[in-house]
Amino acid sequence: MQIFSFLFDRHLERTVLAVAIALSVFMLTRPEDGRIAAARSISSFLLYPVSRTDDYFTSVEELTAENDSLRTRVVSLSHENERLTQFRDERNRLRELLGFRKDSFFEFMPCDVIARSSSRFHHSITVDRGSDSGVLPGMPVVGYRGLAGKVTQVFPSSSRVLLLNNKSVSVSCLVKRSRVVGVLAWERGSFFSLDYVGKEEDVLPGDTLITSGFGRVFPKGFPVGTVFHVAEEKTELSRRVGIVCMTDLNKLEEVFIIIGGRDWKGGEAWLELEKNKKDGEEPEEGKAAGGGEQ
């Protein structure tokens, strides 16, 4: 205690000076590597708040840049997500179509709808396949749920398809359960009527309507619609049968043109009709059962 008192009370000035000089000399006499390491550690200790602040601002800049990058990425991914969602929906539709294709005997040509008509009563679509792909006028067109229409005009790389809800299209159909035959005609929206059904015919709500194959324009057996309403006509000779179409004709994006099948060739009837027209003959077949446009 006495020595401390001697050093710090009576000779504080000299003691501090001696300690400071001794420390300095001690640092000077250390090996150079040791000096550098010591200086580095002391510097980093003293400058820690500065480096932390610097790190903070650096990290803010990095975060801002990262944020901008992520915003761009979000936009990009949103678009990609939207596109992939469309692909997924398309894939689901095509899977349904594929299942449909497996069950049939027919040869289908897939095509995309590239245009729609703006007319209220003459509904038609344009598809991206034409004569270059082997499309012929008269070939039937189906959606993934059932019949959609038929090809009427063919261009090299596109074709015009008249839909079932076109006033000029009528289709010979039969009730799947009771095999009752009638002619499908559009009324409004997705609603059709099955004409020429006798009063005694066996038609019930819920029955499925399929193509009859008469007239050879539409192949036999394709689903067309479902009976939702059966009523007596005033004439009491026939029945009024209301049909709802299976295919949503207003939302067609992909369709299949039936280009052929077992014992059936797409457009054959059309070609025969055209040939008959040229020869000045009236087509005998199809008027009674298939309708004029069949």
Binding site: E13, S24, V25, M27, E32, I36, A39, R40, I42
Partner: protein, 166 residues
């Protein structure tokens, strides 16, 4: 506490200036020693113990910039700080000429110590460097110190403690 923070802030600024700006204001190859100016300003009205501690700290911080001679400036500034605090106010008249002279001598002592350490006590090299650089640098620093101290004198001063020292 505010006063201490102010000293730390000023010291930081002086260190930054010494590292960045001083090389651009050389005159005939001599540059001022801003840290010496700071030391004189901080120590001249203080007790020798404070002069030793402040000198050691400033020298040590200066050494951190050049770790190969860690302790060199600490040693020099400790001795100079002690000398300024011990003799500056008590033995020298309080006028601008003697203040400048004090800084000039302090710079020379600082350079003698650092040159000896840097050249490992090689007298010829010390003498050449001393006459080539140290005298001019000391004069430059003294002029600058005088200017700075005059500026500081214009500022409002703190209350003087008993014993006449801050």
């Amino acid at each position: 506490m505010t006063y201490l923070l102010r000293i730390v802030l000023v010291s930081f600024i002086v260190f930054v200036l010494q590292v960045t700006l001083v090389h651009n204001v050389k005159v005939a190859g001599a540059s001022p020693d801003l840290i010496m100016v700071l030391l004189v300003v901080l120590v001249i009205d203080r007790k020798p113990v404070a002069g030793i501690i402040i000198g050691f700290m400033l020298g040590f911080l200066q050494d951190l910039g050049n770790a190969s001679f860690l302790g060199m400036n600490a040693l020099a500034k400790t001795i100079v700080g002690y000398g300024i605090a011990r003799f500056g106010r008590d033995y020298l008249p309080d006028n601008i000429l003697f203040r400048g002279l004090l800084v000039f001598v302090a710079c020379l002592i600082n350079d003698i110590i650092t040159l000896n350490v840097a050249t490992t006590f090689h007298p010829a090299e010390v003498i050449i460097a001393f006459f080539r650089y140290s005298i001019l640098s000391a004069a430059y620093t003294a002029l600058l110190a005088v200017f700075v101290m005059q500026l500081i004198d214009l500022l409002p001063r703190r209350k003087v403690r008993s014993g006449g020292r801050y």
